[in-house]
């Protein structure tokens, strides 16, 4: 490395900070300040009509005894678990399938990816119509086949499953990331395993999976974060019903903030969610040290 040239073209920290100043300002105004303020608000009774009144940890104490709060956590955990597990298997499976050299494979990739760009509202309405109890396509087909027709979004036992299925429709984003990771696996490794006579299953397990493990970690972390904050789709499709069967954490937070006008209570919920995401993400990265294989650059 040419140190003379390097030091000559090196800049002061001030120059660097000036270039990224927009981000620093945005970070402070739109992230640090609101998050900090909400920590204070979480310790107050704040109805928007009156200025916040300090009440200590009372919101948190109330949350601990709030049955709907716990219900929303359980629902969110169920949703997150199934979405992440099923989504990971589906995304990796599709990526392997779509990594074949076949005619028009690009078209197939586009078909799987396309749903991720469809506006959430339009997608939710489209799926509501597919799930419609009486005239929806699913039940029309099931009825024609003489099978029982569940009330997809209206039955307590089905609403959660219906939302999880609909969520899998958005698997294309993760699939594209796996596809890029699969393409980066060195051909030499496959050649070596072919010479050793390794079966395709074992090859996938011992060669492919370790090589794409950074992508798995990234997608699983993002999947957990996204399913923990799921809001728009169930808000449009089920409104948390029937009978709180699909009341998710963010939805209950939204209700407290914007329907019941309890900003202090909602701020406490937001802080718990924030901490949960930090802890889960951190935990995943710690866990990943054991399983994720990073190639030396």
């Amino acid at each position: 490395m040419n140190t003379a040239l390097r030091s000559k073209s090196s800049d002061t920290t001030l120059t660097g900070l000036l270039w990224i100043a927009p981000w620093i300002i945005g970070f402070v105004i739109f992230l640090a300040v609101p998050v900090g303020m909400s920590l204070y608000y979480s310790l107050t009774e704040y109805s928007l009509l009156e200025p916040p009144a300090y009440i200590g940890v009372e919101n948190y104490v109330e949350l601990a005894g709030d049955a709907r709060f716990w219900r929303s956590i359980i629902n969110t955990a169920i949703y997150a678990f199934f979405s992440v597990v099923l989504g990971t298997f589906l995304a990796i499976g599709l990526a392997v399938l779509l990594n074949q050299k076949l005619p028009a494979i690009g078209l197939a990739r586009s078909c799987v990816f396309l749903p991720t760009l469809v506006p959430l509202v339009a997608a939710s309405l489209g799926w509501m119509w597919l799930y419609n109890d009486e005239f929806g396509l699913f039940n029309v087909i099931l009825r024609a086949m003489g099978l029982p027709t569940p009330d997809w979004l209206g039955a307590e036992g089905w609403a959660m499953a219906s939302l999880i299925i609909m969520g899998l429709w958005y698997v294309g984003g993760a699939m594209v990331i796996y596809l890029a990771a699969l393409r980066d696996v060195p051909q030499a490794l496959y050649d070596a395993s072919a010479i050793d006579g390794v079966s395709p299953m074992r090859r996938f397990w011992h060669v492919t999976l370790p090589m794409i493990s950074p992508a798995v970690l990234f997608n699983v972390v993002m999947g957990i974060i996204w399913s923990i904050q799921v809001f728009a789709v169930p808000y449009i499709m089920t409104k948390g019903g029937p009978d709180d069967a699909t009341l998710f954490y963010t939805m209950y937070l939204y209700d407290n903030a914007f329907v019941f006008g309890r900003m202090g209570y909602a701020s406490a919920m937001a802080w718990i969610q924030f901490l949960a995401i930090v802890i889960l993400t951190g935990g995943m990265f710690l866990l990943a040290r054991k399983f994720v294989h990073y190639r030396a650059a």
Partner: protein, 383 residues
Amino acid sequence: MKHSQDTNRASPGDGRAGSLSFLSRWAIVCGLMIVCLAFLLPIIWVGATSLKPTDQVLSTDQSILPRVTALDRLRQHAQQVEQTGMPGDADLALQLELMEQETLARRRAISQLELKRSTTENQQQSDELQQQIDQLRSQEHVYSYFSGEYWAGLWGFTKDNYAGVVETSQADFPLYLKNSLIIAILSVIGMVISSAIIAYGFSRVRWRGRNIIFGLVLATMMIPFPVLMAPLYLLFKQIGLIGTFLPLWLPSFFGGAFSIFLLRQFFMGIPRELDEAAMLDGCSHAGVFWRITLPLAKPALAVVALLQFIFCWNDFVGPLIFLNHEHQYTLALGLYMFQSQHGGTPWNLIMAASAMIIIPVLVLFLLFQRSLIEGIATQGVKE
């Protein structure tokens, strides 16, 4: 299977391809077709429903393509006559009236038979009922897909549904479109300019601590919007911006983590010699940024612009929280309000409105799918 085809191996980097037998190749092709169909089905169904008249939508006898019956054409004809303002044709009105009644009676009979069939347990009786239903259905005059009448009828349905949405008194979709475009364009401008400047600071300017702060930028990508929804609402409320468009586009002027990341990756790939040569010629950082980096980064800037546009166009939660007057609604929010007011009965109109907000995204995707998919895929290669 794995050894024999080694000779016709596909291109390098494509590990599993080439080592497939003819049969498994076909099995995969069939599997892929099913996958494609499954993922496209909801979109196809939105489109198909948006072309149907109400009586075919609220029916247990659904078909992918809309059907055009003699009654539909007669209705459309009567409607046309009415619109021209000519004195009503008594014969036509009578004919229509008769046909409406006849069809209504037939459809009632069919639905009664269907109800009976669904409750019966006797297989033979069920088959007989099905026969009666089929016979009744065949009495209806349905035009073939290849006839001119069919396409004229389909065009009539399409016009009715889409014009019905644009002109509905329950929502002002042309205004929502204008609002969506204003917000999206301002947001795109802000995001491209600010993220390019910030990404330059993280890639072409050398300073101590830059990687640590960049790590912080990436960490903010992990914070989902709903966590910030209540705090941000309170912030904008205090500075009096709730009920304006500002909360929806102003933050874009301070960069977005993903855009910064994408542009930084791209800037890092530009040869450093270009900067250094320009600097030796007395160019400042601002000069290098403007004359060298930006012109070279046009494709990456386009991807950032595209992704930001789609994000704004699709955004629902932001407008839901920050806007409070009907005349400010964006298309996404307006569509939701349109559906929730109706409680969802005129599904053909709701699907037509949904199709109208999907189509622009679909067009953008078809035009730029390669760069869009590559842009998304870079997310995973951080380490």
